[in-house]
């Protein structure tokens, strides 16, 4: 386990967990640890976004089933609790930064303060401002135009805010973790640090310093952090793609539904890209962080976590889709196969292995984004019918023969492109 987690969860002799008898004491304890440890704030931001975005997915299914809604419906509660967690995480990150920073004057304009922030904090701050402002914006939109669809200005602000803050949180976790490791190294002169992730006001990159010991994993980024950081990005960007492609945005005042053909093209290109980019990046990050040439497991776990979230929020919540759970779980097979392939054969010189991995991962998007994707492609079918909750699976399985053969090649190509871009972003920074 990562040192920060050890620090956070270990039994402290001066503050034994047995002595914490109230929630307030526990929160104070938590806050005290967080003050000393910036990574905790970033973890909270990621977990908050994860809760909000997953609840958003659940909310879409709830609307499809059209169960009666109140403000306190479980999906809405999840969204708002998630936003509160993001907010608290960002406050922890920023307050710690300003307390420890001697560069920033209290007289600086807040714009200057924002510009001077390291990139991860900047992204988290921008994302949180968008998240918080989306609430009143959404209320105003509802008041003026009644019920809105999936794609609306206020929902866009909310989802983009979640995506931006989750990207900031991942970068922050990676940089904070290494900063912490570097601090540990400075305290232990006998050990030579071999890696650092530097973050400055304009960029964040993974940088290797002289490395004499490829197998040294003492400065590793915890695999848990990679998963916690990358999954919210995947979920929120997927949400943005759904917003741009699902036909759920025709309301009384506005019809924001995308053109069906354009929506199908967006889905066919964007979903394979994000699946391949996220899963391949999780593998790359795990390899880089562990200083190992081969690293099995993180890609698989990332994929499985995504499958579990979609299973929980979009399939289990619709009783008619429960019989299709075994079908959906089969998505694990290609993901694990690609993980094995990469961990056994991938090297910086064997790009063909990466391309094969990207093509395979990209081409599974059609099953990975079941059942919501049914609504997108149903619109372009010549004999399209209303996708009732009880008919979703039968319509989906009928369209596999017609749609999937047309999509598999562009999806594979886009998946390959995603691995190339991921490699550029992660490897070339070294």
């Amino acid at each position: 386990m990562n040192n920060n987690f050890k620090t956070f969860f270990r039994k402290d002799s001066s503050r034994s967990t047995y002595n914490i008898t109230s929630t307030i004491q526990l929160m104070l304890h938590f806050n005290e640890k967080a003050k000393r440890n910036p990574i905790t704030g970033y973890i909270l931001v990621s977990l908050g976004v994860l809760l909000s975005a997953s609840s958003g997915s659940w909310d879409i299914t709830n609307h499809l089933l059209n169960k009666p809604e109140t403000f306190f419906s479980p999906p809405h509660a999840g969204i708002y609790i998630g936003v509160a967690i993001v907010l608290s995480g960002s406050v922890m990150v920023l307050s710690r930064y300003y307390r420890s920073s001697s560069i920033i004057s209290n007289n600086d304009h807040y714009i200057n303060k924002l510009i001077d922030l390291p990139l991860p904090m900047k992204l988290v701050t921008i994302g949180v401002v968008m998240l918080v402002s989306a609430g009143p914006f959404d209320f105003a939109w509802h008041s003026a135009f009644g019920l809105d669809g999936l794609l609306s200005p206020s929902h866009s602000v909310l989802t983009i805010g979640m995506a931006v803050s989750s990207i900031g949180a991942l970068l922050g976790m990676l940089s904070s973790n290494n900063d912490q490791n570097n601090n540990d190294d400075n305290n232990n002169k006998s050990r030579k640090f071999n890696t650092s992730i530097t973050t400055n006001s304009s960029s964040s990159s993974i940088v290797d310093s002289t490395n004499n010991d490829d197998n040294n994993t003492s400065h590793a980024v915890s695999p848990i952090l990679i998963i916690i950081g990358i999954i919210p990005i995947w979920i929120t960007v997927s949400g943005l793609i759904h917003m741009a492609s699902l036909p759920f945005s025709d309301t009384e005042y506005f019809n924001f539904n995308p053109d069906p053909t354009l929506a199908a093209i967006v889905a066919t290109l964007a979903f394979p890209f994000i699946v391949s980019f996220i899963l391949f990046s999780s593998f790359q990050l795990s390899v880089r962080s562990r200083r190992a040439k081969r690293m099995f497991g993180i890609l698989s776990i990332t994929g499985i976590v995504f499958i579990i979230i979609n299973l929980t929020t979009a399939i289990l919540t619709n009783e008619y889709l429960v019989p299709t759970i075994p079908f959906y779980i089969l998505n694990i097979i290609p993901i694990v196969a690609v993980d094995i392939l990469l961990s056994k054969l991938s090297t910086p010189k064997t790009k063909i292995v990466n391309y094969v991995a990207g093509a395979v991962i990209g081409s599974i998007f059609f099953t990975l984004y079941y059942p919501l994707i049914t609504h997108t492609y149903n619109e372009v079918l010549s004999n399209s019918q209303t996708v009732w909750p009880s008919l979703t699976s039968s319509i989906y399985f009928k369209m596999i023969d017609k749609i999937y053969p047309l999509m598999v090649i562009p999806a594979a190509v886009t998946g390959i492109m995603a691995t190339i871009i991921s490699s550029k972003l992660i490897q070339d920074k070294n």
Partner: protein, 168 residues
């Protein structure tokens, strides 16, 4: 792969109770409608109550919903509004020739009972007609609607007819 399960809901109007069969002009009467689903869970099941003698619903003056336990808000359709026809949902659109109220629940689970009570104050003397029907969606077969025979309304769907004599 096994054939996907297809839901087959069976909507039934189990009871219609009128508080009076004859009323004086200016007085009101109540109609109490009970419906259930005797098949599989329906994605949507609608109970439609139409008023062919009315030119508008005039909610609160002519028609007042006294009670209902449906999961969704009722929809009021006025003359000239677009509405679905031939049990197609909204696939085949027609224009409403008289006003009606659609009570609906989604989903409507097996054997669940939903009821509505409406107070009606007929505006003119004569036979005040009321059409009642139930439809489940998605529409599968003749059991997806109730009644199965009889006269057809402006949506080309079967209805049960009820009336009250309105006298001076």
């Amino acid at each position: 792969m096994s054939k996907p399960f297809l839901s087959k809901a069976v909507p039934v109007i189990t009871n219609v109770t009128m508080s009076a069969l004859e009323v004086r002009l200016g007085k009101s009467f109540n109609i109490f409608v009970t419906s259930t689903n005797q098949g599989d869970t329906a994605d949507i099941q609608i109970v439609s109550i139409s008023f062919p003698n009315l030119t508008r619903i005039d909610n609160g003056n002519i028609i007042t919903i006294k009670n209902r336990n449906f999961t969704q808000e009722p929809e009021f359709i006025e003359i000239g509004d677009d509405t679905g026809s031939k049990y197609s949902g909204l696939s085949e659109i027609t224009t409403a020739k008289y006003p009606f109220i659609e009570f609906f629940s989604r989903p409507w689970k097996t054997d669940t009972i939903y009821q509505s009570e409406i107070e009606i104050k007929p505006p003119v003397v004569g036979k005040f007609m009321i059409f009642i029907k139930a439809v489940s969606l998605p529409y599968n077969n003749e059991f997806s609607h109730y009644p199965h025979t009889g006269i057809k309304d402006h949506q080309e769907e079967f209805v049960d007819t009820y009336y009250v004599n309105v006298k001076n």
